[in-house]
Symmetry: C2
Subunit: 142 residues, 2 copies
């Protein structure tokens, strides 16, 4: 039986995050000690590892919920899990494309800055005048 702190250390998760996962229904409500402290078993350790790993791969919590659901039904076809992963892959690819455009633009700004006064700063100039940009970068960033 593991305390929440031990579970946290084993999975590289913060204690509060585990409680948060419980709150949003990703982790089950665990058993409690006589004094009311959470006690976890190996199943929960596996489940949390799964969640953390999926998070590291950028899956949103909703997708992880679906994946966990599928994982609980070994006889169902895996097309759904496959589709979730593909969706995530598409997302990642889209973000990559946007970030690459941003990188290009930022590199250009930085390269052209000659280090004078802010009045002549290329960085500020480009920001002031969108038409100086080579690439599209709408909805970018985050």
């Amino acid at each position: 039986m593991l305390t929440i702190g031990t579970l946290a250390r084993r999975t590289g998760t913060k204690v509060q995050t585990i409680r948060y996962y419980e709150q949003v229904g990703l982790m089950p409500e665990p058993g409690r000690s006589e004094g009311g402290q959470r006690r976890y078993g190996d199943a929960e350790l596996d489940r949390l590892s799964f969640i953390r790993h999926a998070r590291q791969l950028g899956f949103p919590l909703d997708a992880i919920r679906e994946l966990l659901n599928l994982s609980d039904h070994p006889n169902r076809p895996c097309a759904e899990a496959d589709e979730i992963a593909r969706r995530q892959l598409r997302q990642v690819e889209q973000r990559l494309a946007r970030l690459e455009a941003l990188r290009t633009e930022l590199q250009r700004m930085v390269r052209e800055c000659s280090g004078g006064r802010t009045a002549d700063c290329r960085v500020l100039e480009v920001l002031r005048d969108h038409s100086e940009c080579l690439t599209d970068h709408e909805n970018a960033g985050t």
Copy 2:
């Protein structure tokens, strides 16, 4: 004199977003009509365009605040603006590297999935067992 709605349309910003920028001090408190509605001039139009453009390039609001500050002091050296842009570029490059690792891993998962039952699903299997991963992908995702 522009109303907030016109300013919003001209800059591709939502009205609420403009009010939000005012609230967090990115936009100045504008003049008001007799009835208390905001009225903007060209300076504000430029300032908001600057903000939006910087946001499209992924600069966080704090960085934009600094950039605007620098922009208001044309005689100061532009090293600071340059540094802010470089910092942003580094951020973008880091995110790119992480996302590329994610893409690799997701591609592998998807490619190896043979479309059987979830019990044998590669996607779920990889998520269950971190050691199957080729790349590092810690702190990834968002």
